[in-house]
């Protein structure tokens, strides 16, 4: 299995631990990730507010880089996935737009053809790798660990663009967590928004959302939350101390990236997966539940 890897900006900065854990897990599973040479920011759901055509063109360029590798494009970020898939759908459905965008790409010797699919690690594990194959490699089953799967918006919505599974009741995260031996809890905020994209202009509201998301998963008995999106992870983890200030109830809960959860079951230590980098320390809970 071979993918053109699109890390996204956060993996080079505040979510460096996701880069580390993704590479560890991919290599343990025998998945080849070839980082796209010269990839740019996907626009993060902001650039279209300034210039929609530019947002489409920049991502057409990213997609063309994957096409050059003759491989599907894989991300580990919900928003990157949505931005890239939005561009792909727009271009594939509108030949005029595709022509116009390609005119801009031609000067850099690139062309968008539409030959590379855009996927996310979560989907690739289920669709391409197979849950049964994943199960075979589990060395340390996560027995006793209760996880709250926080999907994040852009892995399921809007369904016309994402469409991997039923957006009102997805199962992919539960399928992976259960394959690893963890127990999944059901909680109200499972499909809620983390608020990350508006944390600057709507700080008060977004911190309230962070507290609600954390408390909801705690009340359901979770030991930790797990998310397939580094932006959700940053919002829920980095901003948790700020969100706590508004409430007397204890909201504290560790937040793991999906590849970190997988990595634990594959036998890596929390340190090897850079879990110790999170603001809310996950290690004591993991020790208590898993003895790692």
């Amino acid at each position: 299995m071979r993918y053109g890897f699109f890390p996204g900006c956060t993996l080079e900065s505040a979510a460096g631990e996701l880069m580390i854990s993704t590479k560890k897990v991919a290599s343990a599973l025998g998945i080849e990730l070839i980082e796209l040479d010269g990839w740019t920011c996907c626009g993060a759901s902001h650039i279209q507010d300034v210039d929609e055509f530019l947002a489409t063109s920049v991502n057409a360029r990213n997609l063309a880089l994957a096409e050059k590798l003759d491989a599907p494009l894989m991300t580990v970020c919900n928003t990157c996935t949505l931005m890239l898939r939005t561009t792909k759908k727009d271009l594939d459905e509108d030949p005029e737009l595709k022509k116009k965008v390609n005119k801009g790409l031609r000067e850099s010797g690139l062309e968008y053809k539409g030959t590379s699919e855009v996927t996310h690690l979560l989907w690739a594990l289920i669709q391409d790798y197979g849950i049964e194959n994943l199960k075979k490699l589990v060395k340390k089953p996560l027995t006793g660990l209760k996880v709250a799967n926080f999907y994040g918006c852009h892995i399921v919505r809007p369904p016309q663009i994402m469409g991997f599974e039923n957006h009102r009741n997805p199962r992919s995260m539960e399928m992976i967590a259960e394959a690893l031996g963890a127990e999944c809890v059901d909680f109200d905020q499972r499909l809620a928004c983390c608020g990350f994209h508006a944390v600057f202009p709507a700080e008060k509201e977004v911190l309230k959302l962070t507290a609600t998301n954390c408390i909801s998963s705690k009340m359901a008995g979770a030991d930790c939350m797990v998310t397939p999106c580094p932006l959700c992870q940053m919002q829920l983890d980095m901003y948790q101390p700020d969100a706590q200030k508004g409430y007397s109830a204890d909201i504290e809960i560790p937040i793991l990236h999906l590849p970190q959860l997988i990595g634990l079951a594959l036998g890596y230590s929390p340190e090897e997966l850079a879990i110790n980098r999170h603001i809310v320390n996950a290690v004591p809970k993991l020790k208590e539940s898993l003895g790692v």
């Binding site: 900006c9 956060t10 080079e12 900065s13 505040a14 460096g16 631990e17 040479d37 010269g38 990839w39 740019t40 920011c41 626009g43 993060a44 759901s45 902001h46 650039i47 507010d49 300034v50 210039d51 929609e52 055509f53 530019l54 063109s57 920049v58 360029r61 949505l82 116009k100 005119k103 801009g104 790409l105 000067e107 850099s108 010797g109 690139l110 918006c153 852009h154 919505r157 809007p158 369904p159 009102r168 009741n169 928004c193 608020g195 994209h197 508006a198 600057f200 202009p201 709507a202 509201e205 977004v206 309230k208 959302l209 980095m238 901003y239 101390p241 110790n276 980098r277 999170h278 603001i279």
Partner: protein, 317 residues
């Protein structure tokens, strides 16, 4: 015999309770069929609103298992398949005051709607004598937004309204502002758009719930992007939202990738960033989560990206 079990959240004006109704399963029926059946055959005191049964009047919005649907348009079998159960919980739409049972109060929303002047402010070219003619192309711009039936599903699902004090405009109100701002017969689009900016336009959290659940398939999030772009064209660039969007726009042009270290400063300014974000930054450096000295280098092919920027500017002209 297969049965439906509906648990309906009820309210009589003072007391709230959950009431259970059971009746035989029938295939190929709508949500509204079931509610009508309960009222007609089981309990006439159950209150809900409905009229046309054809997704035109917009009055039968309801929440089932936490998600909002237009009752007359939604097959029960689809819901059973989604939740893998014939036991369903019904609630009134969220982010509205509840009058009785599943009946919500539209009055405060209508008052809010008026903020964006949801009517034509005629151009000088049109007159009663000459009429207000529109080409097919001009009409096509407002064809989708005029599909809105004011069902309230977008409001109920809106992630910002769930946590907002009430100032933020409901997605259907943003749609109305967009619809009149784009109407070729309207001569004063700023009068529709300025109130949108003044009422927390930049607080949309990009949760995609409105566009996902709109029973009319209106591209509400594209409209929000358009409204934002237009406010910036009107000169409103000196606010957190606009500065944040431009931080991404400028960084990609400069190096290809986002400079996360500089993002708070670009969005909030140096003074506010030092005042507010130093403890967070310190926590992150301490944990090794960020390296404050990391500056993204120019990506391979940055010249090509700048050419794309130049080209996009020509295209948008």
């Amino acid at each position: 015999m297969e049965k439906f079990i509906f648990r309906i959240h009820r309210y009589d004006g003072t007391t709230k309770w959950v009431q259970e109704y059971q009746f035989p399963y029938e295939e190929n029926k709508t949500v509204l069929w079931a509610l009508t059946k309960i009222k007609d055959e089981i309990d006439p005191t159950l209150n809900f609103t409905s009229a046309c049964r054809h997704a035109i009047c917009g009055s039968c919005g309801v929440r089932i298992n936490g998600t909002s649907y237009l009752g007359c348009k939604t097959p029960l079998d689809e819901i059973i398949e989604t939740f893998d159960s014939k036991m369903l919980t019904f609630e009134p739409l969220k982010n509205y005051d509840v009058i009785r049972d599943l009946v919500i109060d539209w009055k405060p929303k209508m008052k809010k709607l008026k903020l964006v002047k949801p009517w034509l402010i005629p151009t000088e070219e049109g007159s009663v004598e000459k009429g207000f003619k529109q080409t097919e192309q001009e009409f096509s711009k407002i064809a989708s937004p005029t599909d809105c039936i004011l069902c309230g599903v977008c409001t109920s699902e809106c992630g910002q309204l769930n946590v907002n004090d009430g100032v933020y405009l409901d997605p259907f109100i943003l749609n109305k502002a967009y619809r009149f701002a784009l109407d070729s017969r309207d001569g004063s689009s700023n009068e529709h758009i300025q109130p949108v900016l003044d009422n927390e336009l930049w607080k949309c959290i990009h949760c995609m719930q409105c566009v996902t659940n709109c029973p009319k398939g209106i591209p509400l999030t594209d409209q929000i992007a358009y409204l934002r772009k237009t406010t910036m064209k009107m000169g409103a660039k000196d606010n957190q939202g606009a500065r944040h969007a431009y931080a991404f726009y400028d960084d990609v042009k400069k190096v290809g990738r986002l400079n996360e270290m500089m993002l708070p400063i670009k969005t909030d300014g140096m003074v506010k960033t030092i005042g507010k974000r130093v403890p967070m930054a310190a926590r992150m450096v301490y944990k090794g989560k960020i390296n404050p000295l990391h500056m993204p280098k120019k990506v391979n092919g940055i010249e090509g990206i700048r050419k794309i920027y130049k080209y996009a500017q020509e295209v948008s002209k």
